[in-house]
Symmetry: D2
Subunit: 145 residues, 4 copies
């Protein structure tokens, strides 16, 4: 099994157990070791009082991409400290893409950046997540590389 | 009109226009100038693949509390850079409370801290949001203090 | 030995070994369990190209206050992720005070806020530091409470 | 004048006025539009009570690189919210390099990432800075591209 295949197996396992990401309207588009891409189309129920996408929805999309990237080695990994910078508002109907890539992994501590763009490629937000690996695997079945 | 009455009027106006916060399951519990308290009960559709509340839901709750606090002077205000530190996981059925209080406001730049606790008072997350005031009011009707 | 006495013993030990904090021009003003206050007067060599105090000097002052607060239980503790928000510039001759107070400590993870003010009480910066406790003590001598 | 030549002119102007960066022991190694590289060798007076480089010194190095990158278009630009994640400690004698590159610039708001490495290429810290452009130029002389 290649690292990418293992990442795919873990992601399939996580996705099947994840009730929130589908509820938000997310789809998992790509997965690899230390990388994940998720998408979401901004719907009416995602809009805040200014008529633009609620920042929590944009954050959640980035956070799910971060989680799929962090857990891709089949080591249970959780978020510790996440930051988001809002660059441009996301409008109703926008097709958002969150691309996560791990930038460092030292011992149990990882750092993963996620860029959220819309259908024109404009940057909506930049997210940086600091993770910590726990004991235990995401997926107990044999999926070693 | 007192500052608290103005904050209530702005919040009523924002809440009526906000589709996302009710969709998440939030309720607005308290409002004052530079302060807001929102609550949410963790439901099955809020759970991630680890069976605990998705970080994006916790963030969104804090982010809404932040937004209600920031806009409480009836000046349109948006988030720029928000950070969240996860302290303890939120479990299914937990009743979460996000309490926002502005800590500084200098010119157009504000800083607001939000603590998210559960029904036992345990801290679930600490959120810090940096905001910027735009031109224009949240609510055009006359609600001056 | 009270918690405050232990904090003082640890701080004395740390200060004696710390070459950077005195080099910056810092002084340790107060110490208690989970709390520390440090001061620094802005000198000519602290100024950046805009003629105001270099942000790194303000950060360093807050970071030292954070470190003294974090280590006050005599458990070796290090910074993981620190954020600073600049509120007002610090001018030459300003007397800066950094007041650190631990806001959460859960297992090995702590969160400590530091407010930097000047001699008029104006807020210069707000700092938030996330720490992690390591194995080992700061000070090996017997200083149990 | 090319963008790189303008960046060099602005940097020369800033460096001549900057008392803090040389005092820290920094050197300016490279400059271009939206990019800057600074270096510093960890000296005895940079060490904290654990015998490793004080986090404020690492932050200051990254912060100076950030400032040179942000101001490279000759528009006065200041830091608003900076975050640093410490990856590995920096040891006495380490030769640190901070490489800053602007990742977004939208209106007056910019985001610049800085990676600090040592002489072996190991990552010491990751810094992310959010800036805001003010009215006015860094350097009043004619240096238009």
């Amino acid at each position: 099994m290649t690292p990418k295949e293992r990442a795919q197996s873990v992601a399939d396992h996580m996705w099947a157990a994840d009730q929130a990401s589908p509820w938000f309207g997310m789809e998992l588009a790509e997965i690899d070791e230390g990388r994940a891409v998720l998408t979401l189309t901004v719907a009416a129920h995602h809009l805040n009082g200014h008529g633009i996408c609620h920042g929590g929805v944009i954050f959640a999309l980035a956070d799910s991409a971060f989680a799929f990237a962090c857990n891709s080695r089949n080591q249970s990994t959780v978020a510790q400290h996440n930051t988001i910078t809002y660059i441009s508002p996301a409008q109703p109907g926008d097709r958002l893409t969150a691309s996560a890539r791990e930038i460092t992994l030292t011992g149990r501590s990882g750092l993963t950046d996620v860029t959220v763009t819309n259908q024109t490629g404009a940057v909506i937000a930049e997210f940086r997540g600091a993770s910590r690996t726990l004991k235990g695997q995401v997926c107990s079945q044999e999926i070693e590389t």
